[in-house]
């Protein structure tokens, strides 16, 4: 995951890139076989342990999802954590500090 966050005029902008294939289950591979669905279903972002965004994804969020959002109350050095869970039950969590 790549997380970038910066604060301007009291509003923190967070930009997140997540590595994930986001397979719809409708795509065929090179041999013509259907690739099983496999995608992120939930994303949670916290700022200093407080939830600032909860997202549910379907199959039609693009591969390697990008997400940008804005919240109040952040200041440089604060901790942001972004976590996701996918249809296989895999989880991933990464953090960054606000610049």
């Amino acid at each position: 995951m790549r997380i970038r966050a910066s604060v301007r005029d009291g509003v923190t902008e967070a930009k997140v890139l997540m590595q994930h294939p986001m397979e719809t289950g409708l795509r065929k591979d090179e041999s013509g076989a259907l690739v099983p669905a496999w995608f992120i279903t939930e994303v949670t972002a916290t700022h200093q342990e407080r939830v600032v965004l909860r997202a549910q994804f379907g199959t039609s969020i693009s591969a390697n999802p990008y997400l940008a959002f804005h919240f109040h109350g952040g200041k440089p050095g604060d901790r942001i954590v972004v976590s996701w869970v996918d249809t296989k039950g895999d989880r991933r969590s990464d953090e960054a500090t606000i610049a």
Binding site: G25, T41, G58, T59, S62, A63, T87
Partner: protein
């Protein structure tokens, strides 16, 4: 998408398959279906997606802004920005009208988070993208048609 297609879709999907069964309501009493958190992702019409997502009756509003390109060079990645001037927005949804799964994403915004989101969606074909926000319990929307084109040598 019909049930048979979903079976194919999730064949071999393991935990994902069970999760979707649960979200479809098939592992729960029928009465609980409306409350399942992912009900919007299996609804088959825009109206059903909206009612399953607590956004029923969404009306066009100039106070919802949806920024999307007129033409997507590739339907696999269509960048979107959604924002709103409405107060106390606590939910945002993105719908792609002609995708096999209409609901693309659902965001819950706690107090202190601005109604301003950017992400990227897949589009199966040229159609309308609909952005819905909920403000003070009422739903509002903006929509835009995005043309999806065939690209490259195609080989």
């Amino acid at each position: 998408m019909d049930w048979k297609r979903r079976q194919v879709l999730y064949a071999g999907g393991g935990a994902g398959f069970l999760a979707e069964l649960a979200s479809l309501g098939l592992l729960r009493p029928a009465a609980a279906r409306e409350q399942t958190p992912r009900a919007g992702f299996v609804a088959k019409t825009v109206a059903d997606v909206l009612s399953a997502s607590g956004l029923a009756g969404a009306a066009d509003s100039a106070q919802v802004q949806l920024e999307a390109p007129e033409i997507a060079e590739n339907g696999a990645v269509v960048p979107l920005k959604i924002s709103s001037d409405l107060p106390r927005v606590d939910r945002i949804a993105i719908l792609v009208e002609k995708n096999p799964v209409i609901l693309s994403a659902l965001f819950d915004l706690p107090e202190g988070t601005d109604p301003s989101i950017a992400t990227r969606v897949k589009m199966a074909e040229t159609c309308r993208i609909i952005a819905v926000v909920r403000s003070d319990g009422k739903a509002y929307l903006a929509s835009k048609e995005v043309k999806v084109t065939v690209g490259g040598c195609g080989g």
